[in-house]
């Protein structure tokens, strides 16, 4: 075995130093890269947290707004009921006719087309999310003023109704009297196309 003299030891030390410098550079690069990755992840989390915080604050505002306007849902359900509830519609029309002295001879509900003829009385309205029950009404010997009031009541009632067609035949001798009135009223419901 060769004796480790000073010259040989010098070269060994040179090699060790080169290796150490290399290793230091490698450690530094690795540490820097690992640190960068971690800091990126942390930055992402922080941004996420901030966005979530903002969302939560929006939701809190939304919740308080909804709580403050709880009655709006009730009103919406009255304006656009989910159920066709013909009995309620019939009762309402009857009430309007009595309160305005407009005697209705005929109330007929038209069958719809969207769920099979005859199975349902609703049909698409042309407005998204709404169906209609079409009701044909016929009345005779109505005074003009009473009829106008009847129309106003239908137009201003909370449940959404729209007179879609109107045929009026005035009296031959008294123009203030309407011999016959045929009209179609669309009663809107929630749902449908």
């Amino acid at each position: 075995m060769k004796k480790l003299d000073a010259k040989l030891f010098f070269w060994v030390l040179i090699a060790i130093n080169v290796l150490l410098i290399g290793a230091t550079l490698v450690v530094f690069t690795q540490a820097s890269s690992a640190g960068e990755k971690k800091s990126q992840k942390i930055a992402e989390f922080k941004a996420n947290d901030q966005a979530n915080d903002q969302l939560i604050s929006y939701y809190k505002v939304l919740q308080s707004t909804l709580n403050a306007n709880k009655d709006i849902e009730t009103v919406i359900n009255k304006v656009l009921p989910a159920d066709k509830d013909q009995s309620a519609a019939l009762a309402e029309l009857d009430k309007f006719s009595k309160s305005n002295s407009v005697p209705i001879q005929l109330i007929s509900f038209s069958p719809g087309t969207n769920k099979g003829t005859g199975k349902t009385l609703t049909s698409p309205s042309g407005v998204k999310g709404v169906s209609v029950i079409s009701v044909a009404l016929s009345c005779s010997n109505v005074t003009y003023d009473n009829f106008i009031n009847f129309l106003k009541t239908i137009e201003n009632t909370q449940r959404r109704m729209q007179v879609t067609s109107l045929n009026i035949t005035p009296n031959d001798t008294n123009p203030d009297l309407l011999n016959r009135v045929d009209m179609t009223v669309d009663i809107y419901l929630k749902g449908g196309s």
Binding site: D5, A6, K7, F9, F10, L13, I14, I16, N17, L20, I21, A23, T24, V27, F28, A31, A34, G35, K38, S39, K41, I42, F45, N48, D49, N52, L55, I56, Y59, L62, Q63, L66, I72, E73, I76, V79, L80, V127, K128, G129, V130, I148, N149, L151, E155, R160, Q162, V163, T164, S165, L166, N167, I168, T169, P170, D172, T173, P175, Y188, K190
Partner: protein, 221 residues
């Protein structure tokens, strides 16, 4: 002075001096590397702790957000329904206001014989919402059947309709017929519309279309 030390020892001494320096460098390099490793290790540990905390916070927030999801769905449903109601209200045609307006255009000496109209006469079905001329695209006319005392009243009625540009875009007389019925031999009989208003006039009137989409867009602005 003459250096009598043998060459081998002299060279060894020189390398020994260099080795001392190199040993110091080696020590410095080891310390530096260790320092970097320690600092990096501590930093990564701290970052891990921060990351875990943030992860936990994020999980909590996600859970909280999940509880708000039904609220979002509910508010969307309410918003959709309000939009629908708004659309319906925008599209609403008030016949109770329309009838008196039409009655007002009747001049003295004219009465309506029959009135027949529907919302489709008034609501625009086109998306462009342009008010169309009566003859250009041929919209469905709103037919007015009236009885008038004489032909002059028929022309006044036509002018009244044309002048009412809030409601009508145009109007054309289709016919003016002198009614032969209604003349009663009985002097005590109550005068009928036909006897008092012997001329039947038919007018094609073109109602101004309401474009709900345009109205909605206008209100949004």
């Amino acid at each position: 002075m003459i250096n009598l030390i043998p060459d081998e020892i002299r060279i060894n001494n020189r390398y020994a001096l260099r080795n001392v320096k190199l040993l110091r460098y080696t020590l410095v390099a080891i310390v530096t590397m260790a320092a970097i490793a320690v600092i990096t290790g501590l930093s990564i540990l701290s970052m891990n702790r921060t990351e875990n905390n943030l992860q936990a916070q994020s999980d909590q927030q996600s859970q909280k957000l999940a509880t708000y999801k039904p609220l979002e769905a509910k508010s969307k449903e309410i918003s959709d329904q309000l939009t629908t109601i708004n659309t319906l209200l925008t599209k609403q045609v008030k016949f109770s206001e329309l009838l008196p307006t039409i009655a007002k255009i009747m001049p003295p000496g004219a009465v309506l014989k029959e009135l027949d109209f529907s919302t489709s006469d008034i609501l625009s079905t086109t998306t462009s919402g342009t008010s169309t001329s009566s003859s250009a695209t041929g919209p469905k006319p709103f037919v007015i059947h009236a009885s008038v005392k004489d032909r002059a009243v028929a022309s006044t009625l036509l002018e009244n309709i044309k002048a009412n540009n809030n409601l009508f875009t145009d109007a054309d007389i289709v016919s003016v017929n002198q009614s032969t019925t209604g003349t009663s031999a009985d002097a005590n009989a109550q005068p009928t519309v036909s006897s008092r208003y012997p001329f039947d006039v038919t007018i094609n009137a073109y109602l101004k279309k309401i474009d709900p989409q345009k109205t909605t867009a206008g209100t949004k602005k």
